[in-house]
Amino acid sequence: MARFSKAIIDHFTHPKNVGDVPAPDASAHVADPVCGDQVHLSVLVADGRIIEARFRAHGCAAALGTASILTEWILGMEPAALARLDEAAVTGKVGGLTPGQSHCARLAVDVLQALAQDCASRAQGQRT
């Protein structure tokens, strides 16, 4: 197996949606305590669906590529659905990860769950 899937290479060489959404409806930042990789996601939500997503990341190339892929993947999703994406789903979406890159899927799941939570708590906040 090659070290990187074609999708990951595409995304770390030509990352999509780099930066921060201005005035985001939700955002999340997670860091892997072992490898030090960090991912930051911020999104705009409209009509209960994500309509814009941006990322920043620090870490290995696979982590960067994965984060960029996430920003395209989650468009159109309901925030609550993010929490149901698991490592297997992420690994499949990015075109495969080597054992040494499996932390990228974990990090992605963590940031998606944090994002879902942030959406939920802000929605909660708005409702109350």
């Binding site: 060489t13 960090q38 290995c60 960067l64």
Partner: protein, 394 residues
């Protein structure tokens, strides 16, 4: 030079190889010599025409390597490369003194071939002194003088560092060891073929694939009366110093690479071209925002430029450059998701973060000026993009 294409490279057409300290491509003269030798298949130890023809190739290569090293042909012991060369001297010293053990001296910036072998001797009961280095990565000769003990068995210090290119004062260091009557070993894997190796007395390890010869073949120069313990037993090949049917094709390639290297060393035009290419690379990289050059400005192989980009990770830059068709390396082997900072850079006093941001660019005699310009431009673009992506930047 255009390098041979590699399958599935995502950046069509671009192939820039700047990882020549890891290994180098064969020169055409080397592969030609090997092609020609394929039909001379005899065993050099055989007492018939096939054996004699093979032995003649072996002798010729030995003369070529001796000429490159400035020693006598019978001082050249062919082996399987730099790791075997270093291990044979160090582990051999361990075996010779296994009952009484003793003391071994090395430096903090050695290649794992030397460090791991020395650590193994420590497991066998030897004491190990690891000499520190200054900010340029250099051992101070008086420090060696102070470290020497009556039971010191071996001093092993490299010539040029593989990560930074920094040259050690091995002439002075070998002189100090030699005066104290202690055997000296110099890992000259990164200098052979690039610089003259000036070791007063001692064992010198070289490896063909670092100067356009084939991988898996090298030589130990025995420029000393110090005894050499065999590690590979069997026949009486290599003047009874290293057994095993000789890697004839590899040795022919090593000989041809030595001939070519000697020609380059003696050619002032090639030497000034080499320095000009190295300077252009160094200057180009150092002008990139965030760059800190780790290779010393003086007494350094011009073809090696080790540079850290503050706040970025070296392995990430390597992977992105690789996807763009540019081969460089972090300089330190990275075996896990957890990137170990280079022991060489840490020994020079770099912070772990800066050390993790290091990448090594290394040229060869085949590298051109336009390749240097392109690699600097792509690196600049890549580094800027990574800064933009970083959580802390804008």
């Amino acid at each position: 030079m255009t390098y041979p294409p590699i399958d599935d490279g995502p950046v069509a057409g671009r192939r820039l190889y700047f990882d020549n300290n890891a290994t180098t491509p064969l020169l055409p003269a080397v592969s030609d010599a090997m092609y020609e030798a394929v039909t001379t298949f005899g065993n050099p130890s055989s007492a018939h025409l096939y054996g004699e023809a093979a032995a003649a190739l072996l002798d010729k290569a030995r003369v070529s390597v001796a000429a490159l090293l400035g020693c006598r042909p019978e001082q050249v012991v062919f082996n399987s490369g730099g790791s075997e060369g270093a291990s044979s001297v160090i582990v051999g010293t361990g075996l010779r003194h296994v009952s009484e053990a003793g003391h071994i001296i090395t430096s903090a910036v050695e290649h794992p071939a030397v460090l791991r072998a020395c650590e193994f001797l420590r497991e066998l009961g030897f004491e190990l002194s690891v000499l520190p280095v200054d900010g340029a990565g250099r051992v101070d000769p008086p420090a060696l003088q102070r470290a020497l003990r009556r039971d010191s068995r071996l001093v092993s210090i490299m010539h040029a560092n593989n990560e930074t290119g920094a040259l050690q004062p091995v002439d002075a260091l070998s002189g100090i060891a030699c005066e104290a009557g202690v055997a000296f070993h110099c890992d000259a894997v990164q200098t052979a073929g690039k610089e003259h190796i000036v070791v007063a007395e001692g064992f010198v390890t070289i490896s063909a694939h670092k100067f356009h010869g084939p991988k898996g073949v090298g030589a130990l120069e025995v420029r000393t009366e110090a005894p050499l313990q065999k590690l590979v037993f069997g026949g009486e090949q290599e003047h009874d110093r290293r057994a095993g049917t000789e890697n004839l094709l590899g040795i022919v390639g090593l000989g041809a690479a030595a001939d070519a290297a000697r020609a380059r060393l003696g050619d002032p035009d090639q030497q000034s071209r080499r320095r000009a290419i190295g300077s252009a690379l160094r200057e180009g990289l150092s002008s990139i925002t965030g760059a800190v050059v780790n290779s010393p400005a003086e007494d350094c192989l011009p073809e090696t430029v080790n540079v850290s980009f503050q706040g970025l990770r070296g392995d990430t830059i390597v992977d992105v450059l690789s996807a763009r068709g540019i081969a460089v390396s972090t300089g330190s082997a990275c075996h896990s998701a957890h990137l170990e900072p280079s022991h060489v850079l840490l020994a020079m006093g770099l912070s772990a973060d800066l050390a993790r941001g290091a990448i090594r660019f290394s040229c060869s005699c085949l590298t051109t000026r336009s390749e240097v310009d392109e690699v600097v431009a792509v690196t600049e673009h890549t580094v800027r993009q990574l800064y933009t992506t970083s959580p802390g930047c804008d």
